[in-house]
């Protein structure tokens, strides 16, 4: 548990808090969608930090799965915003 990793983890949590502020305060639905997408990418980076911190390999698998699932969810939300059908 080096102090550098604690510093980086605190910075990433601060960035995630700013994303949560935009999710709570965003006036329209696209603002919230943008913030959710960015929050997913940030959490994939945080999983990389956990992998360094603990030395375990499976956190990187969590990061890969998280980024892909976040991508699919963002595409689904964008299609919903566009007002089309999902099978198009």
């Amino acid at each position: 548990m080096s102090p550098f990793l604690v510093f980086v983890a605190g910075g990433l949590l601060l960035a995630a808090a700013m994303c949560l502020l935009r999710i709570g305060r965003g006036p329209t639905a696209p603002d919230r969608t943008v913030a959710i997408d960015i929050l997913g990418t940030l959490m994939a980076g945080f999983c990389c930090l956990l992998a360094i911190w603990t030395g375990q390999d499976f956190y990187m698998s969590i990061a890969i799965a998280w980024s892909l699932v976040s991508f699919i969810g963002t595409i689904a939300l964008a299609k919903y915003l566009e007002g089309r059908q999902y099978d198009e």
Binding site: T41, A78, L81
Partner: protein
């Protein structure tokens, strides 16, 4: 030595993440927020993953973790612009308004044929392609 390089790369990536999220909070428009957030957070997270790759190769001696970090960076680099494009298109179709200071709207021109006033005027120095009738022809 390589651990120091990895720490510098992770630190710069953290700085990009923080500035991108600050832009997400501060900017006035959906499209501006999307631009600031997506670009900066993609670059910052990819730098954090590349630093994880360097850690896994040099400091921790875990090659599986290093390869998975590179793979994750490639995935983020491929999927994030596609997601941002889809969000921007969906937001425009959903009717999200542009900021009042925006100067150009190319997608609106393509969809509705609305051109900004600066481009609506005809160019002045074009030669007139109109045939002028004279008195004898009429």
């Amino acid at each position: 030595m390589s651990e120091t390089i990895a720490q510098w790369i992770i630190g710069v990536g953290l700085m990009f993440d923080l500035l991108g999220c600050l832009g997400l909070v501060r900017l006035p428009d959906v499209y501006n927020r999307l631009q600031a957030g997506t670009k900066c957070v993609t670059l910052g997270t990819c730098m954090i993953m590349f630093g994880t790759f360097l850690y896994g190769v040099a400091a921790l001696d875990r090659p599986q973790m290093a390869v998975q970090a590179l793979l994750c960076a490639v995935f983020v680099l491929l999927t994030s612009p596609v997601a941002a494009h889809a969000i921007a298109r969906g937001a425009y179709r959903a009717g999200a308004r542009l900021w009042e200071g925006s100067v150009i709207d190319r997608l609106g021109e393509d969809l509705h044929g609305v051109r900004p006033p600066a481009e609506r005027a005809e160019p002045a120095d074009q030669p007139a392609a109109v045939h002028h009738f004279t008195e004898s022809e009429s």
